[in-house]
């Protein structure tokens, strides 16, 4: 990196020793133009406002394009499980159920694992191990969604169908959760893949939170003889609890809107089933599957209304996540 003076007096003559008669270029200008500064300032502000406008426009446009469906079906759209493009009947309940169920199962799996990863990386692993492992976990987030989907369909689904699901049926076949043939396609694989996809996001937020906890608090716990786990349980986790919930919400928000991976493995059937082995669908997977092939206006409009619902839900959840994380960060930093 250059020193600061090289940057500022760019093009200025050798004024560094202070003896030069020619002032730096910035000073040579007789009259700094009165309009350039405000112009730049307002131009950047305009682009900043554009972001707000964008989100408002997204909500407004989706709402407007969904009008046909909103007016025809009213609130019943959310409670009806009928989905029949031929007869022009549309209800979002199966897709909403699938979206929420797959995301909640994914969260239930990913949260403890992410907690473990974060604890491992911040409190247990030596630096030499924590860095590469942390990087590798973050790479999970860089793999595109569609790759998870393709891998899920061609590699993971056969694996599940041949090795895992028969076993699940053997131990839990009498419960409603494991009914149906073991196909490797359905709610369970979708939730598992979602869990892997959101794991790096939750883990990295938790890791950042844990490293914010003052070393003094941690050392105090060690000082009175706590083991590593006791220190984590009684110092790190209580101090960051709000943030942990924020991290979970962040993962939830991502899981709800995840599209391609789910589309590949969930089976895309408009049905509600308690069985984890049964195929289902989510809002995002329905959009991905049907949107470009939807012919009737009502079909398109219903799909857009579902998109609107998804947008609302994820925005609320992600906003709450953000607020929780802000609160915890300012609290820890403010101490």
């Amino acid at each position: 990196m250059q020193g600061p003076s090289d940057n500022i007096v760019e093009g200025g003559s050798s004024g560094r020793d202070g003896t030069s008669a020619v002032p730096p270029r910035a000073l040579q200008r007789r009259r700094p133009s009165a309009w350039a500064d405000p112009l730049f300032r307002y131009a950047t502000a305009a682009f900043a406002c554009l972001v707000l406008l964008l989100v408002a426009a997204m909500a407004a446009v989706l709402y407007e394009r969904g009008q046909l469906s909103i007016r025809t079906f009213g609130l019943g759209f959310l409670w009806s499980s009928e989905w029949d493009p031929v007869r022009g009947l549309f209800g979002a309940l199966p897709a909403m159920y699938g979206t929420v169920a797959s995301s909640l199962i994914a969260i239930a799996i990913a949260t403890p694992v992410a907690l473990g990863v974060a604890i491992f990386l911040t409190e247990m692993a030596p630096q030499a191990l924590a860095r590469p492992v942390g990087l590798a976990i973050e790479m999970l987030a860089a793999i595109p969604s569609i790759i998870y989907g393709m891998w899920g369909l061609f590699v993971f689904a056969p694996f599940l169908a041949n090795h895992v699901e028969p076993f699940l049926k053997k131990i839990g076949g009498s419960t409603p959760f494991f009914q149906g043939p073991p196909m490797g396609i359905g709610m369970l694989p979708a939730a598992l893949i979602l869990a892997v996809m959101i794991l790096p996001f939750i883990a990295s937020v938790m890791r950042d939170l844990f490293s914010l906890v003052p070393a003094m608090s941690k050392e105090s716990a060690y000082g009175v003889g706590a083991t590593t786990w006791e220190m984590v349980r009684s110092v790190v986790i209580p101090q960051t609890r709000t943030g942990i919930i924020g991290a979970i919400f962040l993962g939830l928000g991502r899981a709800l809107g995840e599209t391609m991976a789910v589309t590949f493995v969930i089976g895309n059937t408009h049905q509600i089933s308690a069985s984890l082995l049964a195929p289902g669908c989510t809002i995002a997977s329905t959009l991905a599957n049907e949107f470009s092939e939807a012919v009737s206006d009502m079909h398109v409009s219903s799909l857009i209304e579902m998109g609107f619902v998804l947008f609302l839900i994820t925005t609320v959840i992600l906003a709450s996540a953000k607020i929780l994380l802000w609160r915890i960060e300012s609290r820890i930093r403010g101490r």
């Binding site: 990196m1 940057n7 500022i8 007096v9 760019e10 910035a26 350039a36 300032r41 131009a43 950047t44 502000a45 682009f47 900043a48 972001v51 707000l52 989100v55 426009a57 989706l62 394009r65 694992v113 604890i119 491992f120 247990m124 590798a136 976990i137 999970l140 860089a142 793999i143 595109p144 969604s145 569609i146 790759i147 989907g149 393709m150 891998w151 369909l153 061609f154 892997v196 790096p200 083991t227 786990w229 006791e230 984590v232 962040l250 991502r254 809107g257 995840e258 599209t259 590949f264 995002a284 991905a288 949107f291 470009s292 799909l303 998109g307 947008f311 994820t314 925005t315 992600l318 953000k322």
Partner: protein
């Protein structure tokens, strides 16, 4: 005495157990990463050859053929998205770091951008379909680029801001004291100092959108041919991969694995490169 010994043993045992659990969690993540990468390499490498990069897709059942048009299309759409999204993101990020800072507007934009970063990309696709594809009466590469640009903007905003805030205020003050107007301070001092970091941020944003498929499904659609213009549907690797993987033809599925390998390697390489650059940056 025996009791306290037992308590001690139990605490030790718990600690070991939790160490093991945390270790296994990390291992769990690694297993998936390497499992996915291994399968991608195993199935993708045989599909990649000279034809893959130079030929147009062959009809199903015919051996050979490649994804030259899709590779070109992905590069084109991503480049256009970068050209739209990056300047907008950099400008907004500049506002947050240089002018807004703690103002209400800046706080709101920051918040909204953070929410938008994780917003479902398929919804962006539906939005762009409504505002670009419907009025233009047709799917187009341009619509795809706009969708990707929208996804890119919040990422660029936040990284630009973060990097610019690392430039010390004393540097700005020094430049101002020399009589430089603020816009020149930003352009010639702050940007220059933050160049490496900002480039990294842009690289990460490009990597992120180049793996996106959902917003392209009904904006740029797909095409088996070279695309004559960006106002027509354009083939992209991602959408082609989706269609081919879902098809019943073995040749197409093999090409899809090749495409998957190519996309993943590209995205991972960009991400790792960005990491390395970030590690080197010292402002």
């Amino acid at each position: 005495m025996a009791r306290s010994k037992w308590l001690y043993m139990r605490r030790r045992a718990y600690n070991v157990l939790m160490h093991a659990a945390a270790f296994l969690s990390a291992l769990f993540g690694l297993v998936w990463l390497f499992w996915i990468l291994a399968e991608l390499l195993r199935k993708g490498i045989p599909a990649i050859n000279w034809d893959f990069f130079t030929k147009l897709p062959a009809p199903p059942g015919t051996a050979g053929g490649g994804l030259a048009n899709a590779i070109m299309g992905t590069l084109m759409i991503t480049a256009l998205a970068t050209a739209i999204g990056v300047p907008a993101g950099v400008m907004a990020g500049t506002y947050l770091a240089e002018f807004g800072r703690k103002s209400v507007l800046a706080k709101t934009v920051r918040f909204v951008a953070d929410v938008l970063v994780s917003a479902p990309s398929i919804v962006v696709g539906v939005f762009v379909y409504s505002i670009v594809v419907m009025p233009m009466h047709g799917f187009s590469g341009l619509a795809g680029s706009i969708a990707l640009a929208i996804i890119m903007v919040p990422v660029v905003i936040r990284t630009t801001e973060e990097i610019l805030l690392l430039v010390p205020d004393s540097l700005r003050e020094a430049a101002l004291a020399l009589g430089a107007p603020y816009w020149r301070v930003v352009l010639q001092v702050c940007y220059r100092r933050a160049l490496a970091g900002m480039t990294t941020g842009i690289l990460l944003a490009v990597a992120r959108v180049s793996g996106e498929t959902a917003p392209l499904l009904f904006t740029s659609l797909n095409s088996p041919f070279w695309s004559p213009s960006i106002t027509k549907p354009v083939a992209t690797l991602n959408v082609t991969l989706f269609n081919y993987a879902m098809s019943p033809y073995d040749d197409w599925r093999s090409l899809a694995w090749g495409a998957a390998l190519l996309i993943t390697l590209g995205v991972l390489a960009a991400t790792i490169l960005a990491r390395i650059v970030v590690g080197r940056i010292k402002i």
